[in-house]
Amino acid sequence: MAAKWIEALTGSLEQKKQYKGFRARLDALPEPYREVANAMHRYFMYYGGVTDGDTLVTMMGDLVELWERAAADGTPVRDIVGSDPVDFAETFALAYGGTQWIDKERSRLTKAVDDAERSQGS
């Protein structure tokens, strides 16, 4: 009961634990994978704008697996991210259809055009 009440305020504790676990695994990667994985993670914080915990945790898990795999295989980091790391990171983030802060604005724009269309009596 108490746990439920607290989670209503703080978000799921289970998710927080998972997220922390993934962070620790990122930090445990050998260099230079650790550096690149953390740089990607940092970029997601700015770009991703993912607001729901489930999506964030799934995304984090996939990120960790990608880099653990690369480190295990010894794949050069450039072979993973390609020539445009920003494009790569954004494509990666866009795979997650979770709730993003921009979604509200998207539906606003769509509604504005719908309303305008109606006013023209299509």
Binding site: F88, T91, A95
Partner: protein, 121 residues
């Protein structure tokens, strides 16, 4: 790979990867290696990984985790019924586009030839 090729490939890579998965189950690196063999030499492994993550999120593939000798288990992807449906639609769209573009190219070539003939008069 040129900028144009990269841009064009972006739109169709999903169909290509699902096409590969319709013939057999595979994990990310196998698909990347196959694409490189087919001449897509600049494909980044991560691009394919991100794409697989995306089709997984959209429920087009089934995933099985298979233990590997080192590192985390490998995710082996199989095309499911929904994926097959999506792929059929992809090929239909592809046929439509290539057909239209081929017509456009023929028309353009004909016009250019007409232009040359008129110039010769």
């Amino acid at each position: 790979m040129g900028k144009q090729e990269t841009e064009m490939l972006k739109g169709i890579l999903e169909g290509v990867v699902l096409g590969v998965l319709s013939t057999r189950a595979a994990y990310g690196y196998e698909i990347t290696a196959w694409l490189r063999d087919q001449g897509f030499s600049d494909i980044a492994e991560g691009t394919v990984y991100a794409l697989l993550v995306r089709v997984e999120q959209r429920g087009l593939v089934d995933v099985e985790k298979v233990p590997s000798e080192k590192g985390p288990p490998r995710k082996v992807y199989t095309l499911n019924a929904q994926g097959h449906e999506y792929l059929t639609e992809f090929w239909r769209t592809w046929s439509f586009l290539t057909d239209r573009l081929e017509k456009l190219r023929t028309a353009q070539t004909d016009a250019a030839e007409d232009g040359v003939e008129e110039g010769e008069k």
